[in-house]
């Protein structure tokens, strides 16, 4: 068997005909798809082919990348129309006999070729209220560190797998098709970040009012596009956005919870929550976010 395994490699040819790459070239002003033909080589991902193009045909082809191992989230692009990491898209998984298109992310302004200006994401990140842990208990001060159960850290750990490739932001139609929403919408990546902090066993800040009032959580109508493109397989919609929506609803519209807060002082009280305590009329259990926020008409498409 070992011989067969070895022979498998020895006999394998390394080139497999030609491939045509149709790559978007241009800048903020203007651009178009340009076709490049090159040898198809066995075992390559799209990023390998882009690198060979740079080395042989297009030395100035702009492309962002770092680790080439699916861990840094730099090489996001739209390959045959689908948002994906170039380093994790194997050539053999793409249809043969037709050009492979590689385009920059559509949601962000173009810098050049495949590189877009993703600063929107870094601006949103700055507006997320930062981590704010409870003080250590006497036991913890003695033990030297916080005590948390594995099962409790796992919920937030799922979101901390995020490699910030911003594919979820790219595919989210709330900003993909509506530039104007960028000022009032944080996007799936940052809902996952807020969920991570909300579910963090140590954090004591309440972010629900901000999520509702400043970050447009209600504008998400859970089409799950973000979850589908996540290279880390984070269940953004089910595990982050929907639970956040529920928490926001509880905070803002559940009269029992509202009354409870009036009577009892909650541990997660904060200035933010104080602003969010006035209930909006409407039956509990219905998600009134959409009505309150006034979602743009195109969202349901």
């Amino acid at each position: 068997m070992a011989d067969e395994i070895v022979r498998q490699y020895v006999d394998s040819a390394s080139t497999t005909g030609n491939v045509t790459m149709s790559v978007w070239r241009g800048d903020a002003g203007d651009g178009c798809f340009v076709e490049y033909e090159l040898e198809a080589k066995e075992g390559e991902v799209v990023l390998d082919v882009i690198h060979r193009m740079q080395a042989t045909q297009a030395p100035d082809l702009a492309c962002r990348w770092n680790c080439k191992a699916g861990k840094c989230g730099s090489c996001s692009a739209e390959i045959n129309g689908k948002p994906a990491l170039m380093c994790m898209t194997r050539m053999e998984t793409l249809p043969t006999g037709e050009p492979i298109t590689v385009a920059p992310l559509k949601t962000f302004p173009i810098i050049r070729d495949l590189v877009t200006d993703v600063s929107y994401n870094y601006e949103v990140a700055k507006r997320i209220p930062s981590f704010n842990p409870r003080p250590k208990t006497t036991d913890e001060l003695k033990a030297g560190g916080y005590r948390m159960a594995q099962i409790d850290v796992e919920r937030s750990q799922e979101f901390r797998k995020c490699i910030e490739c911003f594919l979820c932001q790219d595919v989210c139609h709330v900003i993909r098709d509506h530039e104007e929403n960028k000022t009032t919408f944080a996007g799936p990546r940052f809902f996952a970040r807020s969920a991570e902090l909300e579910m963090h066993p140590l954090d004591v800040t309440d972010r629900r009012a901000i999520l509702r009032e400043e970050q447009g959580l209600g504008m998400c109508n859970i089409t799950k596009c973000c979850t589908e493109v996540c290279p880390e397989h984070i269940k953004i919609t089910d595990n982050a956005i929907i639970p956040l929506k529920e928490r926001v609803v509880d905070a803002s519209y559940d009269p029992v919870a509202w009354l409870g807060r009036k009577i009892l002082r909650r541990t997660k009280a904060s200035a933010a929550e104080a602003q969010a305590t006035s209930p909006v009329s409407g039956p509990p259990g219905v998600q009134p976010d959409a009505a309150v926020r006034g979602i743009p008409t195109a969202v349901g498409e």
Partner: protein, 615 residues
């Protein structure tokens, strides 16, 4: 001359991996105006690749663990070439730095008691690595990134720094570079500068490192008058993937061999049986049958030769390839498929299985992997003062992979992440104190800025020059074949000459297109650093006539106590006047090398080294 923007800060930190972020957080917390300048987007630095964990003697799993044992492990791993004071500070301070990460939001895996869980790793006496599954580096960089953003550290993303700037007295006072997205130039003035630019792996063909690891920090430090040490001690991992392209360089964990994986040549032979050194003969199986029995019965059988130390395995792979018995792409075959059932492979090696399935379409339950030595980590680097991280160039501080000393000739797994946070913080403090003590207006030589910009733009003005990609490719080929994991004097001499020739070629490359996000031009401006560090490694390797840790000489196969008592210190005495290298930098020919006795370890620490009962 093209215009450039200027910014003035108290402290600038160049590089935004773990060390740079930690330094910037510290300097900023001291109330100093701090800027973080990085070549990529924030949060993408090579720190994200670290998997196993961060080493710290927290004692959460083994209460008997403490800094003294960690110190001893680190010194032994580095074959005593380490800077003892760095190893001491590192072992003493890493537990606090790890707990601090938790206070900033990091979520490590937990023990049953709810404390930070620690895992075993090679060379560490006790389970010591705090971790988050196999993505500890990501957790570390994201935590520090979020802390730095929350604290309001000013970040300059996607800025390639070309050169450090000195004032009339030779004090480092700023840096000049360009914004990659626009190609516009930018100059910084600062009272002190921290370098934290990471590794040097891009000089080799097979490397685990990202494109950023071009050794900019080590090179810029040398050009600014600082020293480097132990540059020859580059850590190679024996089993990196050499094929398919999509995973070239990627590590195949040693666990694959530990669980039964065997190495075969193109004839299908388990060649490791031909390479059992005398030293290990007594404890190594001499037949396949015995080796195979060992997996189930350690007591009555000896271990298979695939599990010899890393350097032995790498040397053997190298010999097979050189003898023409390698795999089609220049490695050998690592076969687990014929050894374990598909189900067992998936159960025992889940992340390996998924990684190769997803990134390469390789099913390791059905096919052999093609593996060979891959360049992984720079043990050496800029020479620093242990306590302050000050380099020998006034005003310049250095931390992280680009600093030398802590790891000696060989780094233990897990000690890189702890290095970043311990010495990142110390660099922040050192730079802040230097900045606070500096009086008068910081001035830089505008002529120096102008010449750096002119040199950077020169590739656009040359018509018909060579492609920077070709020079880079040839440099990688040379470093891989002549300055790889196993070295000999004659090959190193050859490499020295070739690097000089590459320098001449690099001085004549052309760039096409515009300045905006132009990778060909960017590569042309990275070449001077790559050439400088490549020369340092070759020169260091030529001078260290012994085998020690990450440095193996075929012609000097044993450690030599005399060689083991010195650091090889490299520098450029003519750094202020020599501009004859690529991109107007000092020539690689001007790098000097001097053996300098190791710092003397105090007796109380020596006593720790002699304690044997723990082993």
């Amino acid at each position: 001359m093209p215009e450039y923007e200027t910014h003035d800060f108290d402290v600038i930190v160049i590089g935004a991996g773990g060390a740079g972020l930690r330094a910037a957080i510290e300097a900023n917390a001291k109330g100093l105006r701090t800027a973080l300048v990085c070549k990529s987007l924030l949060g993408k630095a090579h720190t994200v690749m670290a998997e196993g964990g961060v080493a710290a003697a927290l004692g959460n799993v083994y209460p008997e663990d403490n800094w003294e044992v960690h110190f001893r492990d680190t010194m032994r791993g580095g074959k005593m070439l380490n800077n003892w004071r760095m190893a001491q500070l590192h072992a003493q301070e890493s537990p606090d730095r790890v707990r601090e990460l938790e206070e900033w939001g990091a979520l490590f895996d937990r023990t049953k008691d709810g404390l930070i869980l620690q895992r075993d790793f090679g060379g560490h006496r006790y389970a010591r690595l705090a971790h988050v599954g196999d993505r500890t580096g990501l957790e570390l960089i994201r935590t520090l990134q979020q802390k730095a953003v929350a604290d309001g550290v000013e970040v300059f993303m996607e800025v390639k720094v070309l050169r450090l700037l000195r004032d009339a007295d030779g004090v480092v006072s700023g840096a000049v570079g360009y914004w990659r997205p626009s190609g516009e130039f930018v100059a910084f003035t600062a009272k002190s500068v921290v370098l934290a630019t990471g590794g040097i792996g891009r000089s080799w063909m097979y490397t685990t490192n990202s494109w950023e690891s071009t050794g900019d920090g080590v090179a810029m430090a040398l050009w600014a008058g600082a020293d480097a040490i132990e540059m020859e001690c580059v850590q190679f991992h024996p089993t990196g993937m050499v094929w398919p392209m999509s995973v070239r360089g990627l590590l195949v964990t040693e666990a694959v061999r530990g669980d039964g994986g065997v190495l075969r040549n193109s004839d299908g032979e388990r060649f490791m049986f031909d390479y059992i050194p005398e030293m290990f003969a007594a404890e190594t199986a001499d037949s396949e049958a015995e080796g195979d029995r060992w997996y189930d019965d350690h007591a009555n059988n000896r271990r298979p030769p695939e599990l010899l130390p890393r350097d032995e395995v790498a040397r053997s792979i190298n010999s097979e390839v050189k003898a023409g018995r390698g795999s089609p792409h220049g490695g050998v075959f690592l076969d687990i498929a014929s050894r374990l059932s598909a189900e067992d492979i998936r159960r025992k090696l889940p992340s390996m299985y998924h990684q190769f399935k997803e990134l390469a379409g390789v099913d390791i339950t059905a096919e052999a992997m093609e593996v060979g030595p891959t360049c992984h980590y720079a043990n050496g680097g800029v020479r620093v003062d242990a306590d302050s991280t000050a380099t020998t160039a006034p005003g310049l501080f250095a931390a992280g992979e680009l600093a030398g000393g802590l790891h000696g000739s060989n780094r233990l797994g897990g000690n890189s992440l702890s290095d970043l946070i311990v010495f990142g913080r110390r660099a922040g403090i050192g730079a802040a104190e230097f900045a606070e003590g500096r009086t008068g207006r910081v001035t830089v030589d505008e002529g120096e800025i102008a010449s750096a910009i002119a040199a950077a733009l020169a590739p656009f003005e040359r018509d018909g020059g060579e492609s920077p990609y070709d020079v880079h490719h040839d440099l990688q080929t040379t470093m891989q074949s002549l300055v790889g994991i196993i070295r000999t004097g004659s090959e190193l001499e050859e490499a020295m000459g070739k690097i000089e020739a590459f320098e001449e070629r690099a001085a004549n490359v052309s760039a096409s297109g515009g300045r905006q996000y132009n990778p060909g031009w960017n590569l042309a401006t990275d070449l001077p650093s790559m050439l400088t560090v490549s020369r340092c490694v070759a020169q260091g390797a030529l001078n260290r006539k012994e085998s020690r840790g990450g440095h193996t000489r075929q012609d000097f196969p044993r450690p030599d106590p005399e060689m083991g008592s010195v650091n090889f210190v490299q520098g450029i005495p003519t750094s202020t006047t020599d501009t004859s290298g690529a991109g107007g930098t000092p020539s690689v020919r001007s790098i000097t090398i001097t053996p300098v006795p190791l710092p003397v370890m105090p007796d109380e620490l020596k006593a720790l080294m002699e304690l044997k009962e723990a082993y």
